[in-house]
Every structure is written in C-alpha cells, then in structure tokens.
Symmetry: C2
C-alpha cells in the first residue's frame, strides 16, 4: 500500500492499516485481522458486519475523516435499511467501501469474538468463540454436464465462501440438506459445529438465508441438583437458567449409596441413568419454553459433574468408583452426539463433557480449575469446592495438585439434629454475643436479624424450621469464639459457660439457638453430636488440603478460594475459625460462587477453553487421599477447633479465640466444672 | 547385520535377510517386511503366526538349513501344541527363534494379506486387507497412584502393542470395553475398523483372548433382486450367498415408476426405504443362519446399487433423479454406521457405499469399473452392464468415459409376448437351421436340446413356459442369420421365408418357436412386436456406446465385456448379430459375470480398493445421453439388425448374414411377396 491509500482505523481493537481505495469495509477488516462478523458472506443480507463510522478530526489517531471517506449508500444497503432498518450512523461493512481515511467502530454485536461479562459472582470476561456457528452459502445449481452431488457442490461452496474444508454430516442431515437446497433455490444456511478445529460437522440446515436460534446448554450435574444455563451461542446471552432436583436421590442420598444401589440391584445403574437423562430433557424443555424457544433449538450441551454422576449419565458402570483402585471407565473429555445419551435436543446436537481429574475428582473440579485458573496464578492458591465430597486444588504457575476428601454431607445440613437443606425458614447466619452468650440469626427468606422487633412478624410465612449448612458452620464458629465450645469441640455446661442456653442432654450439653415451642414452632439447638459431625467433615477437608501442602512442602497458602454453590454462602472468617481451611489472611479468602457452573459456561461459549482445560487436567498432579499415609494423622490433628497443633496465628491476631477447657457432661463428671483460664 | 548372522528366507514372498541370532521368527518377519499375521501380539495364544521351516539343502536359495537352525520347542509352544494342537512341522513364529540359516514358509492362513481367488466367473485374485481386524491387547490394571481411565490405558496398550493411535468409539462401546476389561482381567480382544487409514474405530470387544466370527456382507442392491455374499473378513472365505426379490417391486416394476411413486405419494419414498431396509435385514439374518452365525457377527456391509436404489436406501429424496438435471443428493462414497440406515447388524457395524458416477450411472457401475479396471487396460475396452438401464463404460489407460442408456426391460423378457423372467421352463438358448428354418432350443432346468428324443420326458417337470432375455436375443439373432428377419427387423411371410412357422398375425408375421398346445402346453412365438421391442432396447444400448466412441473419436473398440448377471448368459455372437454391441473380433467379446457384485466383494475385503474406486470415479468423464445431440441419430441408425449404416465387416466375415428384404404383412401388402436376392 502506498502512503496515498486511505488509512483505516478500527476501534475498539485499535487495528489500523492502509487499504486500496474502494475496498469494502468487511474486506479491509479481514485484511487487517479485525474481528468483524458475517453470516451471509458479504451479500448484504445478515447485517452482522455493521460498523459505525466516525467522521471529523481524530487527534488521538492523527487523522481527519471526511464525510466522503465511505462510499454512498448503495442499492443493497438501501434495500436492507428499507426492509429491516439500519441504526442511524451504521453502515453494512460488506457494502460500504473505503474512499478516504476513516475511523470505524465495530460494535459488540458485530464481533464474533465479543467479550461476554458474566453477571455471576465473578466478573471475568470470556471471549465468545462458540463451537457452533451459522454460515449462509450459495451453492451452484445442479448441472447435467458436470454431474456431482448436491452435497459435493455444497462442500465446494463452503470451502470457497468460508474456507471450511472436509465437513462431515449424518445421512439424515444430508437428506435435510438435499431438501433445503431444493426449497431454498440452492441457497441455504448451515449450523456448523467445529468443536475440534479442522473437523466441521453440519448440525443444522435451513433453506435460504435464515437467522435461527442457536442455543447451548451448560449443565452442572450435581448429586443433589441439576443446574443449567441456556445460552445464545451467537450473542453469548444467557436466555434462561434453572435447576431441578437430581431424581437419582430416590436411589440414594449420596454418591456412595447410589454406587451401592448399582452394585446391589441388577439394572440399577441403568435405572439411574434413565432417570437423570429424563430429568435433563425435562429441564432443557422448561428452559427453552421459558426463553420462548424449542428444545430443538439447542445445538450443544456441556456437562460438568463428579465421576459417579458422569458414569451414570454416560451409561458406564459406576461400581468400580466405589472401591479402590477407583477405576474410571474413561477420564478424557468426551465429544459425542447428544442422542447417544438419550438427550432430545436438536437431532444433531453435540455434547462436550469436561475431563475427569481422577476417580474421586471430577469434571466439576476440572470446571472449577478452568474458571479459577490456578495455573495462571502467582500466589499459591487453595481452591476448595465444598460439597458431600470436597474437591481440593492447590497450585500456582509452577503446577497444580488435586485431591478429594470425603467430608460427608454434614456441611449440607445432613446428619445435623436440626439440619435441613438451604430453603426458606432455614437459619443461614448466626452471631453470638461473647458477653451475654445470647444468639441472633437470620433465616432464608427474611432480611432481618432475629433480634429485630419486626422479625417475628416477617418470619411468620416461613417459620424458623431448621439450620442449613452455612448456618451450622457459623453457629459452631460463633460458639467457639464466644467460649461456648472449647478447642476440642466440647460444649460447656450452663455453669461453665454461664448461660442457661447450655442445657444437658444425656451425657453431653447442647446450646439452644431458638425456642419457638411457645408458638407451636420448633426448638433448634446445636448438640454435641452436631459439633462432632461438623468436626469430622471439616477435619477431612483440612486434612486433604494439608496433604497437598505437604506435597509442595509448604505450611502456608497465599490465597483461599471457596467454590461450590455452598461455598458462596460460607463466611470466610467462620470457615477459618472452624478450621475448615488453613490459616490465611482473611482478605485473601474469597468465594468463587458456583465456579463449576462458570467453568461449564466458559467451555460452552469458548471452544478454545476446552483444549485449555484438557491440557490443564493432563498436567494436574493427582493425590489419592485414601493412599496417603499421613492423611489419618492430619485428620486426627484437624479435629481441634480450629486445630490441635497448627497455630492459626494469623487468625488469632484478628479474631478472639478464648480457650476454655470443658469436660464432657457424662454422669461421672456432670457435677464438675470445666476449668476456666 | 554381519555375514555370520543367520540368513533367513521367507517363502512364498522370497524376502530374505540376516537377523541377529536368537531373533524370534515373528520379529524377523516384521524386520524384513514379511506378511506374517498375529492377533495376540506374540504371546503364543492365537497361533496366527505359524510358519513351516524347511530343513536341508536349498540350492535355489544357496543355503543349507541345519536341524538346529530354529530354537527347540519352548514351554509356550508345548502348551499350545498340547491344548490346541500344532500341525506337524509347524512352529509358532512368536516363539521359535532363529539360530542358523533357514527357509521358512508362511502358509496362506498365516498371511494377513493372503490372496483370495474368487470362485466366480473371473479368477481375479484379491489381496485380503479388510477394514475390520482383531487385536488382542493386555492393558495395565487400574492404579490409584496414576489415575487414568480404563479407556486411556487401553489406548496406550493399543499404541504400544499394535501401533494403533487415536482410536475412537461410541459411549455404548466404551461401556462394553469397561466391562470386558473387568471380566477379562484387563485382557481383551478388540475388533477395530480402520476403513480410513489412521482413523481406527472400535467396533467390537470381547473379554480375554477371543476368536469371534468377524463377517462382512457385500450387497448388490438391484431394482429387482438384492444379492448378498457373507464373507469371513479374516480368511476371505465366502460363508453364504443368497438373494431376495427387492420388495420395492410392489411400488413399481422399474426405477422410474418407483420415482413416480415417491413423487405422487406423501411418505412414499420413506415407505420404500423401510421396505428395502427390512428386506436387507432379513436377508442378512438368513445368510448368517445358513453359515451358523448371528447377524451381530456382521461388522461391515458394502453396497453397490444404482442411484435410485442408493437414494431410497439412504433415505434421500429420489424425485430429483426422475428429471433433468438428475441431481444426486451426494455422489461421494459413504462411510456410515449401519444403524443409521436401520440395519440390525453388529451394534457398531459400519457401512461403505461405493461412489455414484452420475445421476444415471450408479455405484453398481463404479463396482463394475473396480472389478474390470478399464483404466488399467491397454486395449480400448467397452463394458456394458445390461439391465433395465444399461451402464456403459469405455476406456483404457488414457481415460475412461461412462454413460447410461435407457434400454428398458425388454432384455429381461419384459414387453415380450411370451417373455418371462429367467426361471425353470424358460427358453434360454435358440438355434435355427438356415436351410430348414426349423428351430431347436434349450430351457432352463434341462440340459438337452429340444430335438433330443428324451427332451419331451425330461422337460415334463417344468414344461416350456416362455422365453427369457437371453432366449429372445438368440431367437432374433438366429432368425436374422436364417433369413427369417431382414435387416430392418421385419419378419418375412411364409412364402417369402419358405416355412409355415412364419404365420400372419393381424398386419404382421410371427415365427412359431414352440407349439405345446396338443399337450395342453403353451404356444411360443416371436412376434413382430417382440422384434420391435428388442430393436428399441438394443438401439439405445448401441447408441450409448457409439456416443462414448464419438467422444474418443474412434469407430472401433478392441474388447467388449458384457457385465451384469444377465450379461453372463448372452452369447457374444448373437449379441453382435443383433447389433447390441459394436463390431469387434468375437474372441475379444467376453462376459464378466456379475461384475458389480464382484466389485462389492473386492471393496469388502480390500480397503485399499475403496480409495482406488473413489479415485477412478472422480476421473471418469461422464456423458449424459439425454443431452447429447447425436444420441437420437445414433439411436435411429442402430435400429437396423445389426445396423443401418455401420458395416459390421468383422462380424459378416465369420457369420452368415443373408439380406432378404421383407415388407410388413398389412392388408395392402399381405399378398405381395418379399423380394429375394
């Protein structure tokens, strides 16, 4: 290009260069590597290549753009504007030609790889690069003199017009391509899935130029809940989100009871497989309906889930996962037709399943790793995804380790005397006054603390029905900070603690949190048994983290990330007082929200991220807690609150941790007072 | 290797070389590029690597093999011999080690790429190289310390033990691999389809070392008949052959009536698709039963068929094939799962469909080209596959042309007054004495000529019921040679011909071939209408051939090959007298039998041949007869017997072709005599 050729500057990318006078904007964008979309291939039909020219003086860019820097509206643009309307100031990039120096803004909707800022807890931006894209092609009509098939001419057009080579398709889809070519006068719009670079597959076809909905489903298949987001694969917009209970619960509450069900019952695994597939189909249909779409508008689904859920969904035998050596049928990421696992989405919809890390560390943990990217972090980062099984990742740029630890369901409110799932009426937050030992709390569904005068009225609708996972964690931690529970986890007697809220029950004491019996409501206490259950769970979690720290030979981590839907509700301070996580500056303990679900969303809308997570998982060092000789030792030491031997000096510096020493309230010792220091 | 290392010579390949002393025979074979089979990977289980050593002096090879040139029987060989028996003189190649100069014969059953000489009409030998092969692998057991999936360890084993990389499989197959690994103690036998080099797909799995039947089906799907051969993909042996009527006949006798049915009836095409798929499943089950096998032992099917049968089988719309521009949905060769077209073979069975040449020239013609290989021929070769539609190939090493010509069903006995399908009782051969004008004939199901004294007795079982395609061709040609029919195709009057076998019927004459009316049997004549029908059919065939010759600017071909099941029964001399084919030395007119079926068989057992036919078809020049201006001209000229203008000098030199000139026997001319020369 010579210096007299027009200079064109694209924003927001800042890419600039000189192009020959008369070059269409779309072509200039391609020459300069600017991300400007086009579905119709420059025919002035799709309007995906819209740009916004800026005329006048641009001192920042050092040019002056004259009014005639772009060619005038041509017939194609005028027709488009008349029929479908063009926003004021906008031009069709495939029609407007560059005649002079100009600044052109590419609005987000004209970018293929636009950034999508998720609304969820984190604000990480993801570049759109969905595997499924639309292509409009004009195919040569059939010609007796050069007899090739419709499909072969379609391939020629795809290669010439879009550079797509060697596409594949099913015979059923080929039949649909044949009829679309006939009814569309050899013009068709194709949905192409190019999940693997260089291996495009035709997954949808429409006669003529079409703008069909092309949706994807990101599914976080948990043992308890199946959560899904329906996302527009063109705009990246989330159209609907929702969840249903995993119907496998009727075969067993937790993972191991489902594995047992499969082991003990012929066809039991298949029964659970059908149940979960049906639930996913129902959920997909509901989300599509909510978004005003059809289930057949869904062309992709991405799954994250733990290994047992994974095997039950895919139809693999989960029984080997129930015992050493915890052999997975496959650990690789999977690409497969949705119909192969009984999903009734678009007929040619494709499924991507994130890789599993190990027999106990699933694709959900891989999704957390994708979302949180510990391998890109300078600080040593500990990520715990708290659920029935805690998945733990530890690492930084030097490498990442993973393990899982069998916390059991206590953190979800199970095995707790007044425990319940997180639902309206459940106590979710607790504070105890260290002087008076009086508690106050909040329940789900009500914004007021329980000591607010209006609380009683506002809580009438739900009542105070129990205590959920985050509630029990806060309660025990507050009891520890208020001197009601000692470092060993014993609840003190009324005398020792100095409150009648401590009440004897059999050989131990409990702490009365709420007494609604006068109004015919429930009585909610934290019993010695509840505390033991929480101790077991948190010891397992802490021991797993310690095991990974041992591998790296460190006593300290720089950052802690709490992941999991439940992680979002845990207060970092309380988690640390309880000794769920290692000592760390409190401001470096953060919640990542449902990081697994975020990872699924990322993998859905950005196919490059799939290669990223596959590479990451293959490089993760897997530690099997069941095999580690020091696990038991760490587990026992972690029984203390916060810990029997680790100092937790950082925590003690900012949080009061009185050190009473109680004895258990059995008949022999009930009369004795705990020593006070 | 030094000169003192043992010299090993493999027969029949003649490959030779020195190997280190102590090298196992299997390893030596691999080093020297000798084709020696092994399924178990050298573990002494499968015995596929058996060799036959020859001891003593081999002056031909210049060595003397001492008795100790091979290591002694080891424990593995002894166990194999004890349990399963080893033929005398045989050794297991994976166990016997080379200790001195030796000649080793590799028997055919130990060769992977053994030659299969087909028993059919031609004796062309094909190298076995089936797409589907068995591999025995020993997989590393699961290990908690290195948690990978069963499938990933299986892939590692396949790569290490067999050099197979990146195999794929369905999730259903993965589930079966998982359970076979468990029940087979991590030893499994896999059936792998590697139809495309470098893209192996797992299609079967068995626990432990297994020798399952691995069958393939070569299917010639004709408009009238579906013929199939069930072939062992390991040995190449045909285990069962058979055919059924194409049930689509109930929707229309010929191709165009089926296309009309699809056009006129909603769902008509789908109905025909179901019917033919069901018939193929039934035929496959019958053949498997006959061979003592299950339909699920069939892992591959290869199809050859004309474009309409192709589209109806695949579920494509056949309607475009009924009118210009005769657009095919696809012309490429197809690889697809058998279940995609409703075939109930092995769950993961794969189908290969040969490419179509053009809208009227199908995969059956491609199969003929594969079988007859005109592109490898020095002499210019004309290949005609005679059926309802004649497919015509013309070419040699310089290039190949193809067209089809609408002969109609006259050659199959349809549209003939006494015509019938080739079945017992049908006249199939005719001779007419040129002096007496008396005929004799043979019928299907009886070896005697009709003038044999015992004919009447022997033919009682079937009777003489009609005349089939080859019979009518011979009859008309013999009538021409005996001066009963003139060059224009007119049957002479009794007076003109000099026999009362010529009888008036309305305004024309007929020739009485057989009168069984005295015994209550049929009366079989060749009518003027019959001759007209044959003339139309043969003119179309000849005009098509001439059109291709025009393209090459030749008046003569060097060789003529008659293909098609019907082609096998046509006498070359009679075909030429009739003018079905151009003049050519009679000894260069041969029959290729069912060349399309042979092509299907070749593609089934040799995957390289699939690439060969795909390349060939892409290079064939397609001529559309409907578009050629000279077709009509050629057609009219070809109406003469043998031809109105082409001299047929070669034919006339060896065959008497009297030239009477008859007039038609209408009322105005019935009294007149035809001129005699």
């Amino acid at each position: 290009m010579s210096d007299t050729d027009p200079l064109v500057i694209f924003t927001p990318s800042g890419k600039r260069g000189r192009v020959a006078r008369g070059t269409p904007v779309l072509q200039a964008a391609r020459q300069l590597g600017v991300d400007l979309d086009s579905v119709c291939g420059g025919r002035g039909i799709c309007s995906k290549c819209q740009v916004q020219p800026s005329f006048g003086q641009h001192s920042k860019h050092g040019i002056t753009a004259r009014e005639d820097a772009l060619s005038e509206f041509n017939a194609v643009e005028e027709r488009y504007d008349r029929i479908r309307g063009l926003k004021i100031g906008r031009r069709l990039g495939c029609q407007a030609c560059i005649e002079g120096d100009i600044v052109l803004d590419v609005p987000p909707e004209s970018q293929v790889h636009k950034q999508v800022v998720r609304k969820a807890a984190t604000t990480r931006a993801i570049d759109m690069d969905a595997a499924t894209r639309l292509y409009y092609v004009e195919v040569e009509p059939a010609d007796m003199h050069a007899p090739t098939g419709d499909w072969e001419r379609c391939c020629t057009a795809l290669a010439a017009q879009w550079g797509l080579s060697s596409p594949t398709l099913s015979t059923a889809m080929l039949s649909r391509v044949q009829s679309a070519l006939m009814s569309g006068d050899y013009k068709i719009t194709l949905a192409v899935n190019e999940a693997r670079e260089g291996a495009p597959r035709i997954v949808g076809v429409w006669a003529g130029f079409a703008e069909p909905a092309v949706m994807g489903l990101a599914i976080d298949l948990g043992s308890t809940t199946i959560a899904a987001h329906l996302t527009d694969l063109v705009s990246g917009e989330v159209k609907a989100s929702g969840g249903v209970m995993n119907p496998q619960i009727r075969f067993g509450e937790d993972l191991m009871s489902r594995v047992s069900y499969a082991m003990m019952n012929d066809g039991g695994a298949a029964e659970m497989t059908s149940a979960v597939r049906e639930a996913i189909n129902t959920l997909a249909a509901e989300l599509a309906l909510e978004a005003g779409l059809a289930i057949t508008d869904i062309f992709e689904a991405v799954f994250v889930m733990n290994p047992v859920m994974h095997h039950l969904l895919m139809g693999f035998d989960p029984v080997p996962l129930g015992q050493a050596p915890f052999a997975l049928a496959t650990s690789s990421a999977l690409d497969l037709p949705a119909r192969d696992i009984g999903l009734t989405l678009a007929p040619e919809a494709q499924v991507y399943v994130l890789p599993l890390i190990a027999g106990h560390v699933g694709a959900d943990a891989a999704a957390v790793a994708l979302s949180e990217a510990p391998q890109k972090s300078e600080p040593l980062t500990l990520i715990v995804d708290v659920g029935t099984n805690a998945e733990i990742l530890l690492g930084n740029k030097s490498g990442v380790l993973a393990c899982s630890s069998p916390t059991g369901p206590a953190f979800e409110g199970a095995q707790i005397s007044s425990g319940q799932r997180a639902a309206p009426g459940a106590i979710e937050r607790v504070e105890i006054n260290a002087e008076t030992k009086e508690p106050r709390f909040k329940v789900i569904g009500c914004d007021l603390w329980s000591d607010d005068p209006e609380f009683a009225d506002q809580v009438l609708a739900t009542g105070v029905t129990g205590i959920c996972g985050s509630g029990i964690i806060e309660a025990v931690a507050e009891m520890r900070m208020a001197g009601i529970v000692d470092a060993k986890g014993l609840v003190g007697s009324p005398d020792a603690v100095g409150t009648t809220r401590c009440r004897p029950t059999g050989r131990t004491f409990e702490y009365l949190l709420y007494d609604g019996s006068a109004e015919g409501g429930s009585v909610i206490s934290v019993t010695q048994g509840d505390i033991r259950a929480i101790q077991l769970a948190k010891s397992a979690l802490y021991a797993g983290a310690r095991l990974l720290m041992d591998e790296l030979d460190v006593d300290q981590v720089d950052r802690v990330v709490l992941a999991g839907a439940f992680g979002a509700h845990i207060s970092p301070k309380h988690a640390m007082v309880l000794g769920m996580i290692p000592d760390c500056a409190l401001e470096h303990v953060t919640s990542a929200g449902n990081a697994a679900g975020t990872g699924a969303q990322i993998a859905l809308i950005n196919r490059g991220s799939r290669r990223e997570v596959e590479a990451l998982v293959s490089q993760i060092t897997k530690i099997e807690t069941a095999l580690a000789p020091r696990f038991q030792e760490h587990f026992v030491a972690a029984n203390g609150i916060p810990h029997a031997s680790d100092p937790f000096a950082g925590l003690r510096a900012v949080v009061p941790l009185p050190d009473p020493h109680f004895t258990s309230g059995d008949s022999a010792s009930r009369g004795r007072r705990g020593r006070r220091r």
